[in-house]
């Protein structure tokens, strides 16, 4: 098991997984999302290969209404 943080919440994963695998649980289409690992944006072209590892801080964001 590894421990990561996703959007500020602790999450346990069986093993390191790709960003694409992590996003399966998201409620909106992948093209509405952007992902950061440890404060660096991971371009979506790399989502299928970039692994989320133990201790990583992941942010998954989308667009919302704002002024």
């Amino acid at each position: 098991m590894i421990q990561v943080t996703v959007n500020g919440k602790p999450v346990s994963l069986e093993a390191p997984m790709t960003i694409e695998q992590l996003l399966v649980t998201a409620q909106v289409p992948p093209n509405y999302l952007a992902v950061e690992i440890n404060a660096d944006v991971v371009p979506r072209e790399l989502h299928a290969e970039k692994l989320v590892n133990d201790g990583d801080e992941v942010e998954v964001v989308t667009l919302v209404g704002g002024g």
Binding site: N7, G8, A26, Q27, V28, P29, N31, Y32, L33, A34, V35, E36, A39, V41, P43, R44, E59, V60, V61, T62, L63, V64, G65, G66, G67
Partner: protein, 282 residues
Amino acid sequence: MTSDHPLVVGSHSLTSRLIVGTGRYETMDQMRDSIDQSGATCVTVAVRRERLYSQTGENILDFLDLDRYTLLPNTAGCYTAKDAVRAARLGREILRALHNPGQDWVKLEVLGDSMTLLPDPVETLEACRELVADGFSVLCYTSDDPVIAKRLKDLGATSVMPAGSPIGSGQGLLNQNNLRIILEYLKRDDPNYPIIVDAGVGTASDVSVAFELGADGVLLNTAIAHARDPVMMASAMKHAAIAGREAYLAGRIPKRLYGTASSPTEGVISSRPYGGAIKKNQ
């Protein structure tokens, strides 16, 4: 008749000089209908954590026609340059996937205080510098301080966006003299440099006044979203923008202390019991 030209901000050419926000509406349908009535072709959006925001699974992108609107992602809610730069990069990444033309720009907003929502000038300057270096076209929200506005322009901000009054306060343009100084200061050797009044608009006349002063654009959100009838207020804002801009282009008359008659003064059938007692100077 003088004709107008589009508002050019960096690589973007906007046919409407009104930019509207997408926040604080009761429903997504109300937002979509209000924006439609405003005539705006550019709308602002915010970047937030997925799932923690929407309980319904609704996403704003399903309610905005991306062929019609250029999105302007903001860094609202950020209090440090570091966070603002992160938000800007995340927004750019989302817009890149959507193939929306807004991917090259950002509305930079770094706040200093959650009560007043006034911008933090030090963090704003730092974030502006970093984002310009990273290739962003930066539309920079700031206070109505002319010196900071000048500093932001000198740092390479594509547009400086002074606040009329605090965000969402509806107090209108509190210091018109400062706004006039900013307009003079930043446009003196660069008349096409875009100045967009952002924040504080309460009602339609505030929009007209901003354009009459010479602002190139107005950005607003709450004044429409929290009006009793947002869709009708959006229409009012559209007309106010046109009225103010046309008045600016047409050139207002100077203010005079005394009246000047609109009707001929000769041939009047009347007597003047106190006629001409005071000699006019102007």
